[in-house]
Amino acid sequence: MLRTTPFHPRTAPLVQGQAWRRWAGYSVASAYELVHDREYAAVRNAAALFDVSPLHKYLISGRDAARLLDRMVTRDLTKCAVGQVMYTPWCDARGKVVDDGTISRLSDRVFRLTSAEPNLRWLSMNGAGMEVAIEEVSERLGALALQGPLSRTILQQLTPADLGALKYFRFIETTLRDIPVAISRTGYTGDLGYEIWVDAARAVPLWDALVEAGMPYGITPAGIWALDLARIEAGLVMLDVDYHSAHHALIEAQTSSPLELSLDWTVSWTKGPFNGQRPLRAEKARGPAWRFVGLAVDWGSLEGLYGEVGLPPQLPTVAWRTSTPVYKDGRQIGYASSGCWSPLLKQYLALAHLQAPHFGAGTSVEMEVTVEHRRRRARATVHAGPFFDPERKRT
C-alpha cells in the first residue's frame, strides 16, 4: 500500500473520481472534482489548498549545519538569515543537479531542507566529520500550500502574526487558531502563496480551520493537475519530469547542470567551495550547451494544422509530460519536457531544453504536435523566464 498523508482523512472523501497520483511513495489527489478547471482557477482567482506533505523534509542542526549546507548547494547559504528561505539546487562533483528544494533557516544552527528525492545519505556523506545532526522529519511534518491572491486574507483571519510584514521567501513560526505552525511565503505556483508546516498530529484540525475561514473567500482544495498547470505558467522546473537527478541518470546526456536548467541565479560565483564549483565555473566560462526555456506555440499554426483535418485545435486539459522534439530549420535542436494549455494566458505553453545557439528569447522554432495520429510541427517562439509573474507574488 502507498502511504497516505496526515490530511488524508479530510482529502480522501473529497476525491470524486478516484483520481490519485503517486508522489514519493504517498498517494495524493490528482484532482478532487471530476473536472479540475475550478481547482486551477482558484490558484489565480482566490486560493487553492494543496496537500504537499509528501515532500521530503530534513532538520539539519548543529555547529556545522550552515557549513554542511553551504558546501552542498549552489547558493551562498552564509547569506541566509534566520527566518529566510532559499530555493536552491544541489549538484554532484561534476556540477550536475542532484535535486532542488528549499532551505529555511530556523535558527542560527538549525535548518529545514525540503526536497523531491530522499537526501539523507547525500546529506550524511557531505557532512562527514562535521558537527551536525541530520534528522528526517518527512512523516512527522504535514505540509499544505495555500496559493492564490486571497491566500493572505484567509490566513490572516487565523493567525496573530502580521502576514503583511512577511516578505517573499521568509517564514515565521506562529499559530493558526492555536495550532503551532511555521508559515513560509513560498510555493510552486508563481502566485501569492504560503506553505504551512504542521505537526502531523495537528494536521486535520489545521485543514478544518483553513477550510472554514477560507469558505467566504473561495478556498478550493486542489490537486496535482491544477498545480502542474500553474507551475508551467510560472516556468518552474520539475525533477523527474523536466530533468533527471544526476544520481539516477544512466548516461551523461541524462544529466543537467544548473546553468542548463537556466538556474544561473541560484549559483553563487563568490561563495566558498561547494559541490560542482569547478566544473560550473568552467561551464560558465564557455557558456552552457543547453538552456531550459519556455515555448509559446503559435495559435495560427496550430489552427492551420488542425484545420487541415477539419477540426478546431484540440488542446490538452491536463499538462503533458512526454518528451517532444523541437526543431529549427528542419533539424532537431532540443525537446520539450512538459506543456499545457494555459487557461489564464490563453496560450499553448511548453517548457523545453534547447541547444545553443537556439535558445535566445524570441527565437522562432517548431515543436512536434500529434494531429490525428500524425506527427506535425507547429511554430513556437522561445520565451525566457516565467510566462506568468504577477506583482502580488512579491509585494
Binding site: P216, G218, G310, K346
Partner: protein
C-alpha cells in the same frame, strides 16, 4: 489636438475597434457618455460592497482572435469557469447538466434514457453547424446586390463554403435557420424540461417564443462558444463583465488610444457628404476624418447624423429595423445563499446557472403574456451567483445574484411606471421563491431593470440587448440594412461598429474588430 479616428460610445465593440485602430498607428479617441466605459458590459457597486455585472453577465462569444491580437490576458482578461446548469422542476425534482460529460449523461438518463443517447448525436450535429457558421463570424458580409469584385469573391467563397458542408449538413443548417426551436428540438428529444431549457437560449434577446419560427438559429449561438470550448473562454470574467470592457480599454490605451468618459456626442459633423468630426453635448467640437459609431443602428443613422443626408431606402430600412427589447435584469444583494428545495443546502449547483424553464408550456405562457403587452407573470430566468465564483463581488459571506429575465416587453400596456417596475421585480422574486423559499428574507437590496431602464442607461434603443434583434432577416448582409452591412455608411468617413452590425450582439467584439479592419483596409494601411 487632432485625431485620425473618433469612436462614438465606449461599449466593448467601440473599444475593440479603437484598440485595432490605435495598434495600426491611428491617433484614436473614444468618447463615452457615461462616467465609465463598457455600455452593456459594466460592473457597478450598486449597493455598498455588492458589485454587479449590471447587464450582461456571462462571456461566451468573445472572439479568440481578439483575445490574442490585443493580448487581453496580459491586460486583465481572466475568465472563470461556470460549469453547470440546473433546472428546478415543478415536481420537486431537477434536471442538471454538469462539467463532467458522464455525470451529465447519467443525469439526463434518469429522466430519459433515449434523450441521453440523443444528446451525444445532437451535440455532434450542433458542433458541425457551429463549425459551418463560425467562418461567417469572422467575415465582412458581401453585398449580394453588388457586382463589385470583392463582393462577388465574398459570395463565391460563401457558396463554396456551404457546398463543402455536404448535403446532410446543409439541410440541417437550413432547418436550423427556418424552424422554431421547439420544432427543431422535438425532432431530437422527448423530455420536455430539457427541450424547454435548450430552447430558452433561442429566445434570449428576441421577441420570439420557443414556438416562433426562426428561434432555432439563436440556439446555435450557444454552441458557437462551445467549439472554442478548449480555449476556455466561457464563463465569468473576474470582476464582472465591466472588467472585460476595462481590459479592452487598457489594451487600447497601451496602443495609444485616448478614452474620454463623461463625453456625450450630440452630433456627427459632416460637410458635403463627408464626415468632419463630432460635436459634444458641451458644445465642444472635435475634428477627425474618420468617425465610427458604436451605437445601435437607430442612433447611428437617425440621431447622430441628419437622416436628410442619407438615402431614403436606408432611412426606411433602419426605421423598420426591429428592436423590441424583451428582457429585464434583476440584481439582488443577498445575506445568504438561496436554498433550492430541489437540491437543499450548499452544493456545486449554486456555482453554476439555475434556469427557470421547467416546461415548454411554461416558456410559451411567459411569451403569451408578452405578446399581449404584459410582462410574464411567471418568467423564464437565468440565475447566477457570481460571488461564489469570484469572492470579490460581495462582502465575505454575502452574495450577489444576477437574474436575467424574459419577457419584459419594452412596449408594456399603458407604459412602464415605477409601480409596474416593482410589480415586475415582485413577480421575479415570487417565482424564485417557489423554488428557493428563503430568497425573500435573504434580500438586502434589489435592483430591477426593465427595457426602458436599459435604454436610458446604456442607450440601447428599446432596451434590446443585442442592439437590434438577432432575427434572420436582421443578420449578415441584412444587418443593419441591405447594402450597408459592410460597416460603411453613405457619409464618407462615417462608419458603424456596434452590435447592430454583423455578426451582432453579445460580448463578442467581432463587430468592432471587423469594422476597424475595414477602415484600415480602405485607408490602404
Amino acid at each position: 489636438m487632432t485625431y485620425d479616428a473618433i469612436l462614438v460610445g465606449g461599449g466593448h465593440n467601440a473599444l475593440v475597434a479603437a484598440a485595432y485602430l490605435a495598434r495600426a498607428g491611428r491617433k484614436t479617441l473614444v468618447l463615452e457618455r457615461r462616467p465609465l466605459v463598457g455600455g452593456a458590459a459594466v460592473t457597478e457597486e450598486v449597493f455598498p460592497g455588492f458589485k454587479f455585472s449590471v447587464f450582461s453577465y456571462v462571456v461566451s462569444l468573445l472572439r479568440p482572435e481578439i483575445i490574442r491580437d490585443l493580448d487581453l490576458p496580459r491586460h486583465g482578461l481572466q475568465i472563470l469557469p461556470l460549469e453547470s446548469t440546473v433546472v428546478p422542476l415543478d415536481n420537486g425534482d431537477y434536471l442538471g447538466s454538469w462539467a463532467d460529460p458522464d455525470l451529465s449523461r447519467r443525469e439526463l438518463a434518469r429522466h430519459s434514457a433515449r434523450d441521453a443517447e440523443a444528446a451525444t448525436l445532437f451535440g455532434r450535429l450542433m458542433h458541425h453547424m457551429a463549425m459551418a457558421v463560425k467562418p461567417i463570424l469572422g467575415m465582412v458580409p458581401p453585398d449580394p446586390a453588388s457586382l463589385a469584385p470583392s463582393d462577388l469573391r465574398g459570395l463565391l467563397s460563401l457558396g463554396g463554403h456551404f457546398r463543402s458542408l455536404g448535403s446532410e449538413r446543409f439541410h440541417a443548417l437550413h432547418k436550423l435557420m427556418t424552424m422554431s426551436s421547439a420544432d427543431y428540438l422535438d425532432e431530437w428529444f422527448e423530455f420536455d424540461p430539457l427541450k424547454a431549457t435548450k430552447s430558452a437560449s433561442g429566445i434570449i434577446g428576441t421577441f420570439l417564443g420557443p414556438r416562433s419560427p426562426g428561434s432555432a438559429y439563436v440556439l446555435l449561438h450557444h454552441y458557437m462558444g462551445e467549439i472554442d470550448g478548449a480555449f476556455r473562454a466561457w464563463g465569468f470574467q473576474k470582476g464582472g463583465t465591466g472588467a472585460i470592457s476595462e481590459t479592452i480599454a487598457r489594451a487600447a490605451r497601451s496602443f495609444g488610444a485616448e478614452i474620454r468618459t463623461g463625453a456625450a456626442v450630440e452630433k456627427v459633423l459632416t460637410k458635403g457628404g463627408r464626415v468632419t468630426g463630432v460635436a459634444l453635448g458641451s458644445g465642444e467640437e472635435i475634428a477627425a476624418p474618420v468617425v465610427v459609431s458604436g451605437l445601435d443602428p437607430r442612433r447611428t443613422f437617425l440621431e447622430l447624423v441628419d437622416p436628410k443626408e442619407l438615402p431614403g431606402e436606408l432611412v426606411d430600412a433602419i426605421g423598420k429595423f426591429k428592436f423590441r427589447g424583451s428582457s429585464g435584469k434583476v440584481n439582488l444583494a443577498l445575506s445568504e445563499l438561496p436554498n433550492f428545495t430541489c437540491l437543499p443546502g450548499f452544493g456545486p449547483h449554486l456555482r453554476g446557472a439555475m434556469s427557470i424553464s421547467p416546461s415548454m408550456d411554461y416558456l410559451e405562457r411567459a411569451y403569451d403574456d408578452a405578446k399581449y403587452g404584459e410582462f410574464s407573470r411567471n418568467p423564464y430566468m437565468d440565475i447566477v451567483i457570481p460571488s461564489l465564483i469570484d469572492p470579490g463581488m460581495a462582502p465575505p459571506g454575502k452574495h450577489v445574484m444576477s437574474v436575467f429575465v424574459q419577457y419584459a416587453p419594452y412596449a408594456l400596456n399603458g407604459g412602464w411606471t415605477d409601480a409596474k417596475r416593482e410589480a415586475f421585480g415582485d413577480a421575479v422574486v415570487d417565482t424564485i421563491a417557489r423554488y428557493a423559499p428563503n430568497i425573500k428574507s435573504a434580500i438586502l437590496g434589489r435592483q430591477v431593470l426593465v427595457p426602458p431602464d436599459i435604454e436610458r442607461i446604456t442607450g440601447l434603443s428599446e432596451g434590446n440587448i443585442f442592439a437590434g434583434e438577432l432575427a434572420l432577416h436582421q443578420l449578415f448582409f441584412f444587418r443593419p440594412a441591405p447594402g450597408w452591412a459592410r460597416y460603411r455608411t453613405p457619409v464618407k468617413g462615417y462608419w458603424q461598429c456596434g452590435a447592430g452590425t454583423h455578426p451582432g450582439g453579445g460580448i463578442m467584439g467581432a463587430s468592432g474588430r471587423l469594422a476597424a479592419l475595414e477602415i484600415l483596409k480602405e485607408a490602404g494601411a
